[in-house]
């Protein structure tokens, strides 16, 4: 695919997406288009649907898609199982990575990598090649090699968990990476290290959707586009300066805006 074609083609096209959790609507007509190589930030107050959106893209079954469409690299994304989405190049960095006692990080990562490689009809990597690859990627995120033999995220600090997410991303080499509140629970040093890892993975056709409540992550991972999500819809889009504006003004303008609408409806 040439650079010229990339400009024309979307990697992700979300069209009027409605989704609910246990019957309550969360996403209410979300539209978003992402081109290869772009970094989009999605900001918004708590409860606006940011995490729901990230998880719907990854295929979490707790969320029901009620209507709308999501096209990913020409595929109907909503028709794919979570593992198929991953194999097609979607990666979700979890806000709360799950710990799995009894499975070593190395075993987990290699199983994932080989599952993805099998899907792509590539040969599986053996233990030696895997170790070489993973060591290289661990340097990228400044992770201690000892964590490879530990159980997945078990007893990891908040920073270690998030770094582990970025390590997985680096190993699985996705086309679209979605970071769900990757900054939450991190101190500034951990945040910087995680962001550096992400930045090292930027480039080429890889696109990012960075979901965050706070602007500070975007000081490190500078986005091409910033969107504000409120009550399940994108209500404003702009460039990186929008993030700074939000930092100054907060989200209260959204609430008062909605409050006004509601008052009007009532009268």
């Amino acid at each position: 695919m040439s650079a010229h074609e990339n400009e024309e083609k979307m990697i992700l096209d979300v069209n009027n997406l409605h989704a609910s959790v246990e019957g309550s609507p969360i996403l209410k007509g979300l539209n978003l288009s992402v081109k290869p190589g772009e970094v989009h930030a999605i900001m918004g107050p708590n409860g606006s649907g940011k995490s729901t959106f990230a998880n719907v893209l990854a295929g979490r079954e707790d969320y029901t898609v009620d209507s709308g469409s999501v096209s990913y690299s020409g595929l109907d994304l909503l028709d794919l199982d979570p593992e198929e989405r991953a194999c097609e190049g979607i990666f979700l960095a979890f806000q709360y990575p799950v710990s799995i006692p009894g499975i070593s990080n190395a075993y987990f990562l290699r199983s994932a990598l080989n599952a993805v490689r099998r899907y792509r009809e590539e040969s599986e990597v053996d233990a030696v090649d895997f170790l070489q690859l993973v060591r290289e990627k661990m340097k990228l995120v400044g992770m201690d090699e000892k964590l490879l033999q530990r159980s997945v995220n078990d007893g990891f600090s908040g920073g270690e968990k998030k770094r582990n997410e970025i390590l997985q991303m680096a190993v699985l080499d996705p086309k679209l990476a979605i970071l769900d509140e990757t900054d939450s629970g991190l101190d500034i040093d951990a945040l910087r290290i995680v962001a550096e890892g992400v930045n090292a993975l930027r480039g080429g056709d890889r696109a990012f959707i960075v979901v965050t409540h706070y602007q500070r992550l975007l000081d490190y991972i500078v986005p091409d586009h910033v969107h504000v999500l409120s009550e399940g819809q994108i209500v404003r889009s702009g460039d990186k300066t929008l993030a700074h504006e939000l930092e100054r003004e907060g989200y209260s303008w959204l609430e008062s805006g909605h409050a006004r609408e509601k008052t009007q409806e009532a009268s």
Partner: protein
């Protein structure tokens, strides 16, 4: 209890008592009284509290009442990755000298067939049996008393470090029936013994195996038991007395047996002793796995740990009954018990009964039990990384059971145990959910 279900057993018992009478007076007496107890009580029904989750109806019916023939072949199975060079084979309850290899046995350790010892020196053997396995009204103990004829006597004295592999094989390929094995273990003088006890079976068989053990001061006894797929009915009972600073460790792994009842009664009889009981299993179909443990903290400063984990599919049923009895003098007891189960289908069932009886005041006792399904969050996490649903389920089952085996030093054996359990796991579609 209805008499008609016990009938075939009654006939067998009466005949056995008559046939063996006159061999040795105290043995005769023990046989006689066990027979009488069994004639009265028979096999308990599910109304009996201690047997509520172990249905013995099929055992009570005639199929198992005959004794398995003295000769039999060793059912072929892949060999376990044992590091022991001492191998003991018992087929249909008989110690098989011809199939056992004792050449590497250190001087400090002796292993002998019980039948031979009963012939040679009955007084001392019977005295040991009476001491280490006191008579009690218990269906399988009664049967073991009545049919007492062979088994093993393992003695170790002084500093030694022996690893022993014991294969209990039941060959019911020609006729169905039962076998009854009694084993004694006596360790003293700081001896360390490790036993890998393996159960194999072919055909319709009941293996009734019991052990009486005394682990002397400062001694260490470690046992790994593995129930290989294809076993039918297995009763396994252990009564162990653990002296000061001694350690008793047990681990049982298994899958693919129709009914397993595992009983351990451990008595911490000297200060600073430790008991470690671990179990991991996968069950399917209409299999039944029942772990029944009693740990008695009789004296101060002892520790115990229990971890049992089961993965149940199909219509299988699991049970765990764990009594921790802390006697009045057992101050500074530290006892830990956990029992966790994953149900893979709606018709699988787990019953867990922790029982604590604490009469000392300075005691740390923790117990926990969980019964649940595979964790959705973890499944989604694995799937979101590209791992397919079926492989993700297997990985989680592996992780769940691996916890039981994590202290096992023999990595190859550990892998075999985990592998056996993983292979026994039903696929999502066939788990009957």
């Amino acid at each position: 209890m209805s008499t008609e279900t016990v009938d075939p057993w009654h006939a067998m018992l009466s005949q056995q008592v008559a046939d063996s009478a006159g061999a040795h007076s105290s043995l005769d007496q023990r046989r006689q009284s066990a027979s009488e107890l069994f004639q009265q009580s028979g096999f308990p029904t599910r109304k009996h509290e201690e047997w509520r989750y172990t249905p013995l109806k099929s055992v009570a019916q005639g199929e198992y009442s005959a004794l398995l023939p003295a000769d039999g072949a060793l059912p072929g199975d892949d060999e376990l990755a044992t590091t022991s060079d001492i191998r003991i084979v018992l087929i249909n309850g008989r110690f098989r000298d011809d199939l056992s290899d004792l050449t590497a046995l250190p001087d400090e350790v002796s292993i002998r067939g019980l039948a031979g010892m009963l012939a040679e020196n009955p007084d001392s053997v019977i005295e040991s049996i009476d001491r280490l396995i006191p008579s009690e009204d218990h269906p399988f103990q009664n049967l073991a008393d009545v049919f007492l004829c062979d088994g093993l006597v393992i003695d170790a004295q002084g500093e030694t470090d022996a690893r022993i592999h014991i294969v209990h094989a039941q060959d019911g390929s020609a006729v169905s029936g039962s076998s009854h094995v009694s084993g004694l273990v006596r360790l003293s003088g700081g001896a360390k013994i490790e036993i890998l006890e393996e159960f194999r079976s072919r055909g319709t068989t009941l293996a009734n195996i019991r052990w009486g053990m005394e682990i002397g001061s400062g001694c260490e006894f470690s046992r790994q038991r593995v129930v290989r797929p294809g076993c039918d009915v297995l009763y396994h009972g252990t009564r162990v007395q653990v002296e000061g600073k001694a350690i008793f460790r047990d681990l049982i792994a298994g899958s693919g047996a129709r009914l397993v009842r595992n009983e351990i009664h451990a008595i911490l009889a000297g200060p600073e002793g430790h008991v470690d009981l671990l179990g991991g299993y996968v069950s399917n179909g209409d299999e039944i796995v029942d772990h029944h443990t009693v740990i008695e903290h009789a004296v101060e400063d002892c520790t115990s740990r229990e971890i049992y984990r089961g993965v149940l599919g199909g219509g299988s049923r699991g049970a765990f009954t764990g009594m921790i009895h802390v006697h009045q003098d057992a101050q500074r007891t530290d006892a830990e018990q956990s029992n966790d189960a994953i149900l893979l289908s709606r018709s699988a069932e787990m019953n867990t009964r922790p029982r604590l009886e604490i009469y000392a005041d300075d005691v740390k006792c923790t117990h926990g039990a969980t019964v649940g399904e595979l964790d959705d969050e973890s499944l989604f996490y694995l799937r979101s990384r590209g791992v397919g649903l079926e492989e993700a389920r297997r990985m989680l089952v592996r992780a769940f059971t691996a916890e039981v085996f994590k202290d096992l030093e023999n990595e190859a054996l550990k892998e075999q145990f985990i592998e056996q359990l993983q292979e026994a796991m039903p696929a999502a579609g066939e788990s009957g959910s």
